[in-house]
Amino acid sequence: MKYVDEFRNPRLVRAIACRLENAALNPVAIMEVCGTHTMSIFRHGLRELIPRQISLVSGPGCPVCVTPAGLIDACAEIAAVPGVIIASFGDMIRVPGAGTSLENARAAGADVRMVLSAVSALDIARQNPDRQVVFISVGFETTTPGTAAAVMQAHAENISNFSIVPCNRTMPAPLRLLMEEPGSAIQGLLCPGHVSVITGSSAFEFLPSEYGIACAIAGFEPADIMQGILSIVEQVENGNPHVENCYGRAVNPGGNPRARALAEEVFRPCDAWWRGLGLIKESGLALRRRYRSFDALQRFGIEPAPGNEPPGCLCGKILRGAATPVECPLFEKKCVPSSPVGPCMVSAEGTCAAWYRYGIGHNRIHQTDD
């Protein structure tokens, strides 16, 4: 595949890994904030190629993992309303809330369908005029404009049996929160490439200027990711943190204003709960007055339970690199991959899920016991 395979070339990846080995003189803690980066690092086995002195921490950038449990339960509640069709991205279907999941709702008789796009959800609404079609609208800056376009279209065409559960989140606010927390060990941030397509590289400028965080915007192929990490390590070593755009083929400084305008037409910022991180100011999106009739929570009169996290969950600290999973009292007890509590266990590649699976914690415990 063009523009994919070139950036998977093992010769390039190895060469950048070699440069990285030479550049990383001191320990560096880097957060890869984007879930797709996490997946790609896992799939291509890149941890094996990254020098030991570099620690990678998976951040809160998987949209389904940060959706609060109460909101997922609310989606399942809507799914149970007779006649309702739920349209959801595949990622969301298995994610558990506090009590249930869309998968469980489907097993109990709900009509839950998987779509690749908000537009497909709108198509389902057109094809089923006598049924209510509810789209579970998860996603960050990259996904929201498309959902906004679908809502505007539904509004223009007067499609009254379509609505969305707005679970959308925006990136800068939680990053600020993570960096402001005392005890944050993060020195560099691998910035989300496709969010940056929309926001532009300038959206991350506050990280180096206010917090001294080295930033690299990276694509998702192995050479892209390795180059991003190399850029961060060099910035940290040189004491020169800035935002480097390593994904020029997709990202420009100003981003995509047209996409942002669509999102802004339909949504307004609001305070929002994040699974594991709590309530974050201006980090979510609500439908503007003009489109409020498309809000499924209002249409069905469902109030999601507030996103109170169970006591003891350390995901917030783990996400900041300030704690490891074995320090969490819930880890491997109440919180396991089959019934996860926090986002680090919800995501298959989250820090806690990976530690659980590969027994990383046990190895460390045994080493220290010895």
Partner: protein, 88 residues
């Protein structure tokens, strides 16, 4: 947080009305075709152009010149590493 891949434009359609006839492109990846919406891109792409597609929408046109520069830089690094290895 957002899976998106580069695809090649085969043809474009629609666009007479932003909402009632939104512009779309038929795109190809190794023979697999799909229709994607062009609402978010600032220009109507030409057949042969490359788009970055996420959740049914093109989020940007891929810049082939930047891709070339990107690769050149990486190749340069690989070349240097290769040379360093030769010397040692």
């Amino acid at each position: 947080m957002c899976l998106a891949i580069p695809v090649k434009v085969i043809e474009t359609r629609g666009g007479t009305d932003a909402l009632l006839d939104p512009p779309v492109a038929i795109v190809d990846a190794e023979g697999i075709r799909q229709e994607v919406r062009l609402d978010l891109v600032d220009r109507m792409p030409e057949p042969g152009d490359w788009l970055i597609v996420h959740a049914g929408f093109a989020i940007n046109c891929l810049d082939p010149e930047e891709a070339r520069k990107n690769l050149e830089l990486m190749n340069e690094m690989a070349g240097q590493v290769g040379k360093a290895a030769d010397i040692s």
